[in-house]
Symmetry: C2
Subunit: 121 residues, 2 copies
DNA sequence: ATAAACAATGGACAATTGTCAATGGTTTAT
DNA sequence: ATAAACCATTGACAATTGTCCATTGTTTAT
């Protein structure tokens, strides 16, 4: 599929998609028609971009994702990168982030209750 | 307390603390000694900065925090800003972020298990 | 066949969240 | 009294994560 369709399906901008591709998060092929320079994105890119969005939400940076993806793809360049250790570390980080967010959420709810009590607020 | 002690207690850099103050997240007073320009930070600033850290972890931006804090302090400048509505919206956002992170966490764990199975990986 | 929509590329620009370095003054420990 | 450590201010710099614009070429709808 071409970038416009991909953009529409993912609600990302073309520029964002190109940005991700420049950074190695997704890939494309030269496309059937030889006359143009249009790129062709595999269908799975839609889900891949959805996954990237969730990863970012969970605190992954672009460069972390790039590294991780390059490893999973076997296009590994970085020697001495332990994917499983990386995953374990990131799992711990996300768990921690969730725990902290939940605690903060409690504080937010308490603040809201306090504001709702006009005598104390 | 002076900025150095505050920095030490919060493990933030002096520059970060000044950055937050410039942005209205914390405040300081001119300090006792009249001869210098050293600022004096109230003790509660330690907890305030801890709270700010948690808020950022949960997805609050500096400007959101500045707005919110200015409202709680009554130093409101923005008319038509509904603190309770803001809180409610942010609570929803954090809840959503947590839910998504938990889902993503499952995916991460599944990936790790898959990698740990050498035949399938 | 032609205008409108789409695509690629390159580089500039922007918001956010800090960090660093220079300068000049103050406090504290020795 | 003097060096080391501290502080304020200013402005430059930097990483991250995109967005926008100009240019040029291609495809598609009319």
């Amino acid at each position: 599929m071409r970038i416009g369709e991909l953009a529409e399906r993912t609600t990302l901008s073309r520029d964002t998609i190109r940005f991700y591709e420049r950074n190695g998060l997704i890939h494309s092929a030269p496309g059937e028609a030889s006359s143009n320079s249009y790129r062709d994105y595999p269908d799975e890119t839609v889900e891949r971009l959805a996954m990237i969005r969730e990863a970012q939400n969970a605190g992954f940076s672009i460069s972390e994702l790039a590294l991780f993806i390059s490893q999973l793809e076997g296009s590994s360049v970085e020697a001495g990168f332990d994917v499983e250790a990386f995953l374990e570390r990131k799992i711990g980080e996300v768990e921690d982030k969730i725990r902290r967010s939940e605690k903060f959420l409690d504080a937010l709810r308490a603040t809201k209750r306090a504001l709702a009590r006009p005598d104390t607020g």
